[in-house]
């Protein structure tokens, strides 16, 4: 784990401590054993869970009721990962292994069979059956499903055969395994009666729902949990909107951990030996400056020329405090199959200017930009980009919008900043944003070639898929489809009383069972 004791730098974030290496080896060995064996992890030898962990988030729960399939916010995913099991689990290196499925096998490019663990119970005491698993998967695979998690899946169907659930997709779907490491297994009864989620979340996971009041979502350890017994008795997800209030709560010990912090909060614990800073502890995420397709920006040559005009390194270092990496292709740099492109669009204003002049756009283009405070340091980033564009003869008319209006009207502007997190740690999610109806919604862009490249990598798996992912990301990059300002590094700060904390590259806290509090 990249643990930075009271000191943070991108360079040090890349170093893996010896201890972490040992943990990594242990995890890999453990994962291998888990795959080889279908035995339920013994819980009897574990000590009773104790203590309380309070995690401070800057956003509240957003999902409809406590329905995990409606989740799209950080807290929804956190809660879902505590209350519910998934068929597979992803470790911190991004490897998947069986969880609620005692074993699984990819039968073909379109079919994966999962043997469902027996003896597992939901928190209300009813058994988790293969029918519940199939119903959970079918719920999000259904055509036109409005559930947020439908984005993670491809069309298809899950069927039950004895103790096995067969998941068959209409077309090959390489991201199936990683998606099933996020998809919560819920009871058929809750699916039939969604109002059940109005008051509680009845999963089979390591924690049980207790309450949601006074901005605190409280869960307590499930004493009958079939898997690795949680070491922490109570986990509280506390919503603290104000950054300063969140930091004060962390520094005064009112909360143990603060999530998705910015440079200011990191600086606030610099030199303070009471805290650990966990860097790169989230899903592949990016901050992008959306170029809407239309007007002069429709011309890929202009978009490429503009890409040379923006000094991304300076933005990342000076404005974002050096906490974010830069990607040199059309995906976050920590995404599986990411590979830097040959042309990195290094900052070269002279080249940008001459290209723009040669294209005849110099001094003749005015772009509209909407700006807000949705993204940390958004105003500063936007101002910098306006300055860079002005320097190469592109005028920008900026409209400052309130966050709600910004989110509602960003498609009306040529340029707007946004963030995108990949829920399932798979390129399909990231590349899918640039194709089909989603690409049209975000970028106003429709490109049959991109649709073809996206489908090609989605419909494949293994080593051949890596090549296809590379073709798709490189095409996006070459087309300069947008401005990939920087990756978004998810940094968490935790009090040192929290031991053994680790995260997988997924949204949520599925690995929290390994953490303890002293």
């Amino acid at each position: 784990m990249k643990t930075l004791n009271s000191r943070f730098s991108p360079k040090s974030a890349l170093m893996i401590a010896r201890r972490n290496l040992r943990v990594g080896v242990a995890v890999m060995v453990g994962a291998s054993l888990a795959i080889a064996s279908t035995a339920v992890v013994a819980t009897s030898a574990s000590a009773a869970p104790s203590g309380q962990l309070i995690i401070a988030n800057g956003e509240p729960i957003t999902a409809a009721y406590y329905d995990p399939h409606s989740a799209f916010g950080l807290v929804d995913a956190q809660l879902g990962s505590l209350l519910y099991d998934t068929l597979l689990v992803m470790d911190k290196q991004g490897n998947v292994s069986p969880s609620l499925a005692s074993s699984y096998k990819r039968v073909s490019k379109t079919q994966v069979d999962f043997v469902i663990r027996t003896g597992v119970k939901f928190h209300d005491g009813t058994s988790v059956t293969p029918a519940d698993v199939a119903a959970s998967i079918n719920r999000v695979m259904a055509d036109g499903s409005p559930l947020a998690f439908a984005l993670l899946m491809a069309p298809g169907k899950a069927t039950v055969s004895g103790n096995t659930v067969k998941v068959v997709t209409t077309k090959p779907f390489g991201a199936l395994e990683s998606s099933l490491a996020v998809l919560a297994i819920v009871s058929s009864a809750d699916i039939a009666k969604p109002d059940n989620w109005k008051t509680t979340g009845n999963g089979s996971g390591p924690y049980k729902f207790v309450s949601n009041k006074n901005n605190d979502l409280t869960v307590v350890a499930n004493d009958d949990y079939w898997g690795t017994a949680p070491k922490i008795k109570t986990v509280i997800l506390r919503y603290i909107e104000d950054t300063q209030a969140r930091q004060s709560a962390l520094l005064t010990g009112q909360v143990d951990m603060s999530t998705r912090v910015g440079p200011q909060e990191i600086a606030g614990v610099k030199g303070n030996s009471d805290f650990n800073v966990y860097s790169n502890q989230g899903p592949p995420s990016q901050i992008i400056q959306i170029w809407r397709d239309g007007g002069a920006l429709k011309d890929p040559k202009l978009r490429r020329a503009i890409s040379y005009a923006i000094d991304r390194k300076t933005i990342a270092e000076k404005i974002q405090g050096g906490m974010n990496n830069l990607a040199y292709n059309g995906m976050p740099s920590n995404m599986p199959f990411y590979k830097a492109a040959a042309d990195k669009y290094e900052y070269n204003p002279a080249k940008a200017k001459s290209l723009i002049k040669a294209l005849g756009y110099y001094g003749k283009v005015t772009l509209t930009m909407s700006t807000s405070s949705l993204v940390p340091k958004q105003s500063e980033i936007d101002q910098a980009i306006v300055g860079y564009l002005k320097a190469v003869g592109i005028a920008v008319k900026v409209t400052k919008l309130e966050v709600g209006k910004f989110r509602t009207t960003y498609p009306d502007y040529d340029i707007s900043l946004n963030t995108i997190a990949t829920f399932n740690n798979d390129p399909s999610f990231s590349l899918g944003l640039y194709s089909g109806g989603i690409g049209k919604a975000i970028f106003g862009w429709s490109d049959p070639e991109m649709d073809r490249l996206f489908a090609a990598q989605r419909d494949d798996s293994g080593a051949t898929r890596a090549n296809k992912v590379n073709l798709a990301q490189t095409y996006l990059w070459k087309m300069a489809r947008t401005l990939w300002v920087s990756d978004e590094n998810w940094v968490f700060i935790a009090n040192k009383r929290v031991k053994g904390y680790e995260r997988s590259p997924l949204v949520g806290e599925a690995l929290i069972v390994n953490a303890s509090v002293s």
Partner: protein, 308 residues
Amino acid sequence: MRFFFSRVAQSLVIISGITVSVFFMLRFTAGDPARIRGNIFSSNAVLESYRRQFGTDRTVAEQFYSFMKGVVHGNLGDSFRYQQPVTELVLPALRNTMLLGFVALIISISFAIVLGTISARNPKGLVARASGVLAIFGQSAPLFWVGLLLINIFALKLGVLPSGGLTSWKNLVLPSVTLALSILPSQMRVLSASVKAELDEDYVRTAHAFGLSSKKVYFVHVLRNACLPLLTVIGNDMGMLLGGAIVAEVVFNFPGIGTLALIGLNARDYPLLQGVTIVAASTFVIVNLIVDLLYTVINPRVRLGASK
């Protein structure tokens, strides 16, 4: 009794006006709740399903009819974000805010009475001068800044009080002191001026002439009369308290109506925002109604004046 009914009728008209205007103001303010609820990559089909769920796919007139029908039956609808009845969300938050406001009021009134009266009796004394400085500080320092200052001193440096939340009585201290500081200056000044004026009244001299002790003259007669303008100020302070609570609750992460309003605003959660506004405004109106009625109890001339 006529005075009472007249005031109640006025209050009902004000609350109805607020209820109607908050509905239309929200509808005509830009911001589609479905887009805010959905992801950046939500398709039109998903957005439409949210609009159907929220009822925002219907005409404003239809939405207004359903809303008013619900209000008449005490149903403020379900929150878009929480999918829970708004009343279940607003009432506990209101209780917390009322508690915060009440404690702030007690603190400010206590200090206003002590400092105001001492200042009135000895305008050139140390307490009067210190009170003047405190009043200037309270009126000029932004609420959020005072809050952060108190957190820095009492939570971060001294570690004697929590910086936020609501888990024990200790959590009330810093936000209520912050709020109290914002309303204390006006209360103190009004009371001080009022006490000064009362001390110059003939009845004070007469009371002394009749041999009443200074304490009795002061506490039974002067302070009671001097408190009348204070009561008016307190009525107005309720607005300050509710407005200030939004800032204080954010700074101190206090789970009150201000925090809820902010969540509602960020999510364009129409029912929640309507509920918060209606309940907060009604509270303000009702408190002012009570103040008006109390005024008539303390000073019957107001009641008589109204009946003429």
